[in-house]
Subunit: 377 residues, 2 copies
């Protein structure tokens, strides 16, 4: 008998309503019944994306939606600026390079946000740049970027702003239209409280102009085909029916709570987590730009992060994430995204305390929990 | 109160075990627990594909796996032969052209299978052709191609045989290794009795040589990255966890029945369907190459196929498929694939009789059912 807790930055726990929806008998996708679902899902996504523009649902993981952004906006030989401050920023660079894009990289120190003025400078130095690829919440470091500021910079330029909001959409604020985000990509297994398997992508009027002139080869991720289909409330290829039906349930829950309340809840969980780890004498990995999505925490010397994560998960059923790439073994990442409320945080911190204690880290048992409780009052 | 029957060529009905698996709380994908699932799913797929080679699971629909075949095997300027005898054969041509492949098209009359000797002739005329793209069961026409014969032709050549087995895998025989199929692609929502959202692709040693030299741009569908990950029982990007867990349940069911028995069951259902429609005085659309996957039926003059399908579905809850593209309104397609047994066929034929009767078609009520019952004895 093992009870499992999932505090990872994707997948995130599934609400019972979502689980139940996925267990229903399947329906066919070329039916009025499913057309109503496409419509409901698309409108719900527009609410969460905070856009009046087009939002498409892809049968892919978030990376597929990232690829869709690159191949639909750009052509081989085009110039783009990518912002790298972690593993997922690097993914933009990798995808652009694979598709023959001249890629100007802004390297940001891991754990810090990108400065909008640095982007402005780079854009001036590279006036041919057709797009800037950045990240809302960099899952590998827990950093949140100031997308509103970046959007202000890009508004006056010809370059399109492309935001990887896979981590963060539906958890923290991202005003697609008001902040001048031309393309926002996301995935199902994060703030939207679904299993992985759906990618989402929004396209602004400014972005559509780039789509029109793009010569990159594409078929499965062709957004013009997606648009043509969506105009008939259809999809170009067989959609991931079950996940889209479950998406409607998740969107309904977010709508009922309201986006603003959802953001407040995420901030409360993040504040409690940060208070707890600080009270344990641990340091935030990204103190100046910590997101309300996932908290990366530096581990003290002598504490092996991989062992810590493994013990919490395999011995006690509490799954958090370790560090990726250069942070492997050095940080832990506690997610507080999606269907997570205060007692999930309490359980997670309690387990963290237990294992840290067993690993010989010196602190007074309960002090993390107490700080979280105080923060949650 | 409405009871629904799904007799469509994808999605196909879900077994309760599959539904139940999808309703479980989600687990994280970078865990020993999920590694065991990847291993089980991969081995199960190798059983169904009848291959000892690599089989990859993609988070995409079947079309994504088709694109993966093209971009991983070929480079712009390469020559390939595509076989078109319906909508899905045409898709191979479309994808190849999008990626700059010189595409030699073998046009087959809709409703007929391709002849292996025609392929042999074309290969001799195009010795540079690196691959032949064909279809196991052409869903749009109900035709099954003789893949064994095609494989014999290709064995002696340098060209790779690529088979779209999206419709048919796990329902009718396809011996990937024994029939010299170098790449077989499939999808989850057909013979494998799952919702859509997973693509599958097998790769032979001969195909890997093409993969090594391919210069087509790719990232999300890069099979070398997939191979590198699978060697560590992992996936390059977040997998569609829930669907893969459900896949294990479906594969377990197929294994328990045994592939041979599964094929026999599909043949019985197909025979009964064909007997029924013939007894109703209707003609098979593909009499010489009818698959055991889906039966396309010509409609008599004066019977509007779109209205027939709509009435069966919206008034009586029985969903079959109509005709696609040039066959729109002219044929109906009754699928008998996946989790379908004899009384599903009886229900479907009974509903077909009812609506044909209401639409004024002259026949003696019950004669289709009787023929199906006799066939099923």
């Amino acid at each position: 008998m093992r009870k499992n807790y999932l505090l990872t930055p994707g997948p995130t726990p599934l609400p019972p309503e979502v689980c139940e929806a996925m267990a229903r008998p399947i329906i066919h996708h070329r039916t009025p019944q499913f057309q109503a679902i496409i419509k409901e899902a698309t409108q719900g996504l527009q609410y969460v994306f905070q856009t009046k523009g087009d939002v498409f649902i892809l049968a892919s993981s978030g990376t597929g939606a990232m690829e869709a952004a690159v191949v639909n906006l750009l052509s081989p030989g085009d110039t783009a600026i990518t912002i790298q401050g972690g593993k997922f920023g690097e993914r933009w660079t990798e995808i652009c390079k694979k598709y023959g894009i001249n890629t100007e990289v802004i390297d940001v120190k891991w754990g810090e946000g990108v400065s909008a003025s640095e982007i402005e400078k780079r854009l001036k130095a590279n006036p041919a740049a057709k797009a800037v690829f950045t990240t809302l919440c960099e899952t590998s470091t827990g950093v949140v970027n100031d997308i509103a500021a970046i959007g202000s910079v890009l508004k006056a330029t010809n370059a399109a702003l492309v935001v990887d909001a896979i981590s963060g959409l539906g958890a923290i604020d991202l005003k697609t239209d008001a902040w001048n985000c031309d393309v926002v990509v996301s995935g199902s297994q994060k703030g939207l409280m679904l299993p992985p398997g759906l990618g989402f992508i929004s396209v602004s009027q400014k972005a559509w102009k780039l789509v029109e002139s793009s010569r990159s080869p594409k078929y499965y991720f062709d957004l013009k085909a997606a648009k043509k289909a969506l105009d008939k409330t259809d999809t170009p290829f067989t959609p991931a029916i079950t996940l889209i039906i479950a998406l409607c349930e998740a969107l309904k829950m977010i709508k009922e709570d309201g986006l603003e309340n959802t953001f407040i809840r995420h901030k409360k969980m993040a504040d409690a987590t940060r208070a707890a780890v600080k009270a344990l004498g641990l340091e935030l990995f990204a103190p100046t730009a910590a997101s309300d999505v996932v908290t990366a925490v530096n581990l003290p010397a002598g504490i092996d992060g991989e062992k810590l994560v493994k013990t919490m998960r395999d011995t006690y059923g509490v799954t958090i994430a370790g560090g990726q790439a250069e942070l492997k073994g050095k940080v832990i990442r506690i997610a507080h995204m999606g269907f997570i409320e205060e007692f999930d945080i309490i359980a997670g911190i309690s387990c963290l305390e237990k294992v840290l204690h067993q690993m010989g880290y010196k602190f007074s048992l309960g002090q993390g929990i107490k700080a979280a409780q105080e923060s949650l009052l």
